[in-house]
């Protein structure tokens, strides 16, 4: 035993110390009982979590979204600004949603990556994030005007339908009413709009989508569908409105949006959203209501009419409310979304991965089970085949795992399910270095060398091979790390670090143990 040995031992102790230090927060955080968790103050819990091993979404459950900004309405120069605003708005929305540690990052020019760990309600999250949330207040055209427009549409649709038929005369045109046929109460307009039965909704919607509305309607009018199903005289159906194209007010005039119950006297226990307008908005609102008593004012969200109350009097208070068939959650989310603001451009979800918490927990359990079983089988084999030296291999393996986990924790890397698989594979491949060394030592012993020189020769010869072999796996996992993302990247990280740790433990540490075991006198035989 010489100075060399002492340095190796020192390095080992230092590394072990660092590892324990790096892993301590993780151990505490994940193995803490619920009671202890409650007892700890908020801040300490936060720091503990931050320093602990990061679990990927596929292990803790949660949602990963890749969003793409729809740039069709924007000029190229406007995109960076729109991106920044969109991220800001999404951040506000997500903050209020109450997810711990959400991540919102830009990716490339027009993509945003959103991660919501621990999220349970996927539908709500998708709605909250995907909504453009364009809120507008538009006047509904007078009944007379509305009827005229609908008749015009009806005629246009009739002409198109008959254009396909072989024989047509003006008499046919007189009796063909594709659109109004679907409106049972025509020419009556319930709530100021055309009423279409729910069963006919799809057909009516398709009809309206089949014509170029812009060229048929008057310049200042537009058509919008109601958002919810309505009931009228015992029938359920949808409303189609003819609105003033110009918005009187929009989301920028809102100062505050809050969920309230009982805003609608006809739906006393239902939630709605109570809006408070800013001074400019309040002024406008006063003017609009004063000038249009008797008309309906449609409140539209993303080009669908949520409600269209009639203006009974001038409203000076700058308060308005949105009521409709809202669930408590929907109203709450709408308030959040209005408060945070409308997105500058529509956002599409182009990729999504949601993992429920039970699958996450299952995955952890099964992954660690697999590692344990694999490791045990390998250990048994090594001990049977290489006897006591097999135990040395075991020691190297354990240290390998400890260093690997510590490195992941220290780097704040994320452990994913493929990452756990990577750990299992590291176990299998790590043993290879030991096998190479042991086989060499056996060979040297067979040629009659003494124990000490057999060990020396074994390590010397094997080292080059081990290096070459592991470098190539480092190359392929390196390339994989660079190119892939998400869980697969986690796999590459684990494999890469695992191999580095393996080079250290398999070569240096086992050598140490051999030296320690055979140091001093002339050992006659080796249990290998």
């Amino acid at each position: 035993m010489g100075g060399n040995f002492r340095w190796k031992l020192l390095s080992l102790v230092v590394l072990l110390g660092l590892s324990v230090y790096a892993l301590y927060p993780s151990a505490r955080y994940y193995l803490m009982s619920e009671g202890d968790r409650q007892a700890l103050p908020e801040e300490s819990l936060e720091t503990l979590r931050e320093n602990a091993l990061n679990l990927g979404l596929d292990l803790q459950g949660g949602m990963h979204l890749v969003l793409e900004l729809d740039r069709t309405g924007l000029r190229d120069s406007e995109v960076p600004d729109a991106m920044a605003r969109a991220i800001e708005i999404l951040r506000n929305r997500v903050d209020k949603f109450g997810v711990a540690e959400p991540t919102i990052q830009p990716q490339g020019e027009d993509r945003i990556v959103v991660e919501l760990p621990g999220l349970l309600d996927r539908e709500r999250a998708v709605n909250l994030i995907g909504q453009t949330a364009l809120l507008e207040f538009k006047l509904v055209k007078s009944e007379q005007e509305s009827r005229r427009v609908i008749e015009r549409l009806d005629r246009e649709l009739a002409e198109r339908r008959l254009a396909g038929a072989d024989s047509a005369d003006s008499a046919d045109l007189e009796f063909t009413h594709p659109l109004t046929d679907l409106m049972p109460f025509w020419p009556e307009l319930p709530f100021g709009a055309g009423f279409v039965l729910e069963s006919d909704y799809e057909e009516a919607r398709d009809l309206l989508a089949s014509v170029p509305l812009d060229s048929i309607l008057p310049v200042d009018a537009e058509i919008q569908w109601g958002r919810d199903v309505e009931a009228y005289q015992g029938y359920t159906g949808r409303l189609v409105y003819v609105l003033d194209r110009r918005a009187q007010l929009d989301g920028s005039h809102i100062a505050n949006a809050v969920r309230r119950i009982g805003l609608d006297p006809t739906r006393p226990n239902t939630s709605g959203v109570s809006l408070t307008l800013n001074p400019q908005g309040a002024r406008r609102f006063r003017r609009v209501t004063a000038q249009n008593v008797g008309r309906y004012l449609a409140i539209t969200l993303d080009d669908r009419v949520v409600s269209a109350p009639s203006i009974r009097e001038r409203i000076p208070s700058g308060r308005a409310s949105i009521t409709g068939a809202f669930s408590d959650d929907e109203a709450k989310d709408l308030a959040i979304v209005l408060q945070a603001g409308a997105l500058p451009a529509p956002i599409n979800i182009i990729q999504e991965m949601t993992v429920g918490p039970s699958l996450g927990a299952d995955s952890i359990r099964m992954g660690t089970q697999a590692i344990a079983i694999g490791a045990i089988l390998i250990l048994i084999f090594m001990v049977i085949y290489y006897r006591a030296s097999g135990l040395i291999a075991l020691l190297a393996l354990v240290l390998n795992m400890v260093f690997l986990l510590a490195a992941l924790a220290g780097m704040r890397a994320t452990l994913t399910l493929p990452g756990i698989a990577g750990m299992a594979l590291t176990v299998g491949m790590a043993v290879d270095a030991n096998v190479l060394i042991f086989e060499r030592i056996r060979e040297e012993l067979r040629t009659g060398k003494k124990v000490r020189s057999a060990i020396d020769a074994g390590y010397g010869r094997a080292f080059r091979t081990i290096l070459d072999a592991n470098v190539t796996t480092l190359i392929s996992s390196g390339v994989l790390w660079w190119i892939a993302s998400g869980p697969i990247q986690g796999f590459a990280t684990t494999l890469f670090i695992g191999i580095l740790a393996n080079l250290y433990t398999a070569v240096l540490i086992t050598r140490m143990v051999f030296d320690a075991a055979t140091g001093g006198g002339e050992t006659e035989s080796l249990s290998i």
Partner: protein
């Protein structure tokens, strides 16, 4: 000492034509299967689409589930119950991904509603949902392709640098063989190729090269030592000498991959299967194919020089 393969003297080189034929047959079968199935079965990360996995409160037959999927408006859905559990996977390819959530009901909601109508009282817990738009699918395909090409290229360079170019070619050819055979098996059983499978293929590449390097290293060492022997014999001797190490490492790695395959759960199963197959094939190619190719290349080189 317990040993296997002590002083074996198997003549690998003479029988090498046999191994070429075996490999060629397998790869041909693969090509046929590829043609028959109209290409590889791509997972949603490459082809785009949606994957939804539910945990049902009781097992429901595939036929009933098909009715449910059709009722929800997705007759083209692939339905896969998970063996040993009441979990079910719905795969819906080519569906328009890109929800702009305004009043439009999402696919999982539609499925759930259909399930409820069909079997009221049945609960369906959402285990996971993945959706990939066609654009991203294309990108991921590109990523996978480049990952494989760049890895192979770098590995070739490294080996050419450490040994000689001939060895590099032999190694990479053996690697390509491994990837092709693994893909053949996937094609035969119509298994899905997804990003984790590509990751497995890359790992197998690294592992297989390990094996091959160990043999090459021994060849290099023995070429110097046994100068009087023919190259043919040197190759044979080297493979025999490294045989025990190659097999043992294969065994230990198989323990790990096998444990993952059997106990790792459904999410990781395809990956573990690719690993297991890859390890077996990689070991085969390192022993029977790689050195044989080096021999051919050397002989071809000598013939040209003559």
């Amino acid at each position: 000492m317990l040993t296997m393969f002590l002083n074996t003297k198997i003549d690998f080189m003479t029988k090498r034509r046999l191994f070429y034929v075996v490999s060629a047959i397998v790869i041909l079968v693969g090509i046929a299967s590829f043609a028959l199935h109209g290409g590889l079965r791509l997972g949603i990360d490459f082809a785009g689409g949606r994957l939804i996995e539910y945990r049902l409160s009781e097992r429901v037959s595939i036929d009933e589930l098909r009715e449910v999927a059709t009722a929800a408006g997705y007759p083209q859905a692939e339905i896969q119950p998970v063996r040993g559990t009441s979990d079910v996977l719905f795969r819906i390819p080519d569906v328009e991904v890109g929800e702009q959530a305004t009043g439009d009901v999402s696919i999982s909601q539609q499925l759930r509603a259909a399930l409820q109508t069909h079997r009221p009282g049945l609960t369906a817990e959402l285990l996971r949902e993945e959706s990939v738009g066609a654009k991203i699918g294309r990108e991921i395909r590109g990523q996978a392709f480049w990952a494989i090409v760049i890895s192979l290229g770098l590995i070739l360079l490294y080996i050419a640098f450490r040994f000689e170019f001939r060895f590099g070619l032999g190694a990479v050819a053996a690697l390509a063989h491994d990837v092709l055979v693994t893909l053949t098996i996937f094609s035969l059983f119509n298994l899905e190729i997804s990003m984790p499978v590509v990751a497995a293929l890359l790992t197998i590449a690294g592992y297989s090269i390990n094996d091959t390097i160990v043999v090459f290293d021994r060849i290099r060492e023995q070429s110097v030592r046994l100068r009087r022997e023919t190259y043919f014999n040197v190759l044979n001797i080297s493979i025999n000498q490294t045989l025990s190490r190659t097999v043992i490492t294969a065994i230990t790695t198989l323990f790990a991959a096998g444990a993952l395959l059997i106990f790792g759960g459904e999410v990781i199963r395809t990956f573990a299967l690719a690993m297991t197959i890859g390890i077996l094939v990689g070991t085969y190619s390192s022993i029977f194919i790689a050195s044989a190719l080096v021999l051919e290349l050397r002989r071809a080189g000598e013939a040209k020089a003559a």
